[in-house]
């Protein structure tokens, strides 16, 4: 998958979850991650990297991500990004 067809989201704002919204970006605009997290200071960079890495591993180059974190573990962040990607590519 290298191109998103539409905007999509996955996850919730329940505790331990993360809400991921994906919006298709124009070619060449790159991956932009807007993150809100209660653990921004400790884990903000880690969460952004993980979201970016997951997108890159699925061949995504240009995308706007709005993420609302509620203390999600890595496995949850990956799962929510992948689900949003699948929904965007439908």
């Amino acid at each position: 998958m290298s191109k998103l067809l539409k905007a999509a989201q996955a996850g919730t704002v329940e505790s331990s979850d993360i809400l991921i919204r994906l919006i298709p970006g124009d070619a060449g605009t790159g991956i932009k991650v807007e993150l809100v997290s209660p653990t921004m200071q400790q884990y903000g960079a880690h969460i952004r990297n993980l979201i970016t890495k997951t997108l890159v591993s699925h061949g995504i180059d240009d995308i706007q991500v709005n993420a609302t974190d509620r203390g999600a573990l890595d496995c949850t962040i990956k799962a929510r990004v992948i689900t949003a990607l699948q929904r965007a590519g439908e």
Binding site: A10, G11, E14, S15, S16, D17, A72, L73, D74, C75, T76, K78, A79, R80, I82, T83, Q86, R87
Partner: protein
């Protein structure tokens, strides 16, 4: 001693908070649920989350996944996504006959080969929830060497019987009895249905005592509070352990004396009693330190 499955605890497959803590309550098996606990619109979300959770969490206990039935639009997709994470066990709901067990067995075999997992390492169990499933329970239980247990799903079963669930459970007596017989004939375990009123501890205990007497190996649970209650009732009592030890000692003594008749406190002991005593001690040993008395 076979794998203990006294408590099989359901965890909603789309709830990250519950998934991350699922391993800490001491359940013999956790069942990550992609079926009833997940809204139709979130089936994709749940299977991705369950896949990541199994791949990355170290649960330290047996991990099962309840997939959607393969006749729904979700069942095969659940298997496709989740099998590469190598769950220990796949639980099929609404089992209707041996054919679907064989189809899933073949699908798992292909996934094991593709992912280079040892052949036969992913086990299966099936829940019987309809009169037809109950009639074919032995065929279901013996349809694949992967099958380790049959379970009964009472809510759907009772709806199919056109009755209601009662405290005494008389409406389930025939079904439970038949299910134990089918599982024992096939040489696999038998797991009882959930008890969903988590505040009725007395009713819950009565039900566990009943199913233990009937020969069940364990119970599906829906709340962590229920785990230790099940383990306590399934644990052999000190009196049972003491009796089993004395039976085996008497048996050993008779063997040494080459005596044909064995008795303990004036009661004759024959081989089934010896076998039961051996099972009690093996069970006590296997459950020691794993919850219960």
């Amino acid at each position: 001693m076979e794998k203990l499955r006294r408590s099989m605890m359901f965890i909603p497959g789309n709830n990250p908070g519950m998934l991350q803590n699922a391993g800490i309550y001491g359940a013999d098996t956790i069942i990550l649920d992609c079926e009833d606990a997940v809204a139709i619109t979130e089936k994709d979300s749940a299977r991705n989350l369950v896949f990541q959770a199994i791949s990355e969490m170290n649960y330290g206990t047996e991990v099962a996944v309840r997939i959607n039935h393969i006749s729904t639009p979700f069942g095969w997709d659940d298997l496709k996504r989740i099998l590469p994470a190598k769950p220990d066990l796949i639980r099929l709901p609404m089992a209707q006959g041996p054919d679907e067990i064989r189809q899933i067995d073949e699908f798992i075999s292909a996934a094991e080969q593709k992912n280079k997992f040892p052949a036969g390492s992913i086990k299966m169990m099936a829940a019987v929830e309809t009169p037809k499933g109950l009639r074919l329970a032995y065929e279901i239980a013996s349809a694949s060497p992967r099958m380790v247990a049959l379970a009964i799903g009472a809510e759907d079963f009772i709806a199919n019987l056109k009755t209601t669930r009662s405290k005494l459970g008389r409406e389930l007596l025939a079904a439970r009895g038949q299910l134990v017989l089918a599982a024992r004939e096939a040489g696999i375990q038998c797991i009882d249905t959930v008890f969903s009123d988590i505040n009725d501890e007395e009713g819950f205990k009565n039900e566990i005592e009943l199913i233990k007497e009937m020969g069940f190996d364990g119970k599906s649970v829906v709340n962590p509070r229920q785990v230790s209650v099940v383990h306590d009732i399934f644990a052999p009592t000190a009196k049972e352990i003491d009796h089993a030890q004395r039976v085996l000692a008497a048996y050993q003594e008779a063997l040494e004396k080459k005596s044909g008749v064995i008795s303990l406190n004036g009661k004759m002991i024959d081989l089934p009693i010896v076998a039961r005593a051996e099972r009690t001690l093996a069970y006590a040993k296997a459950t020691a330190g794993k919850g219960g008395k």
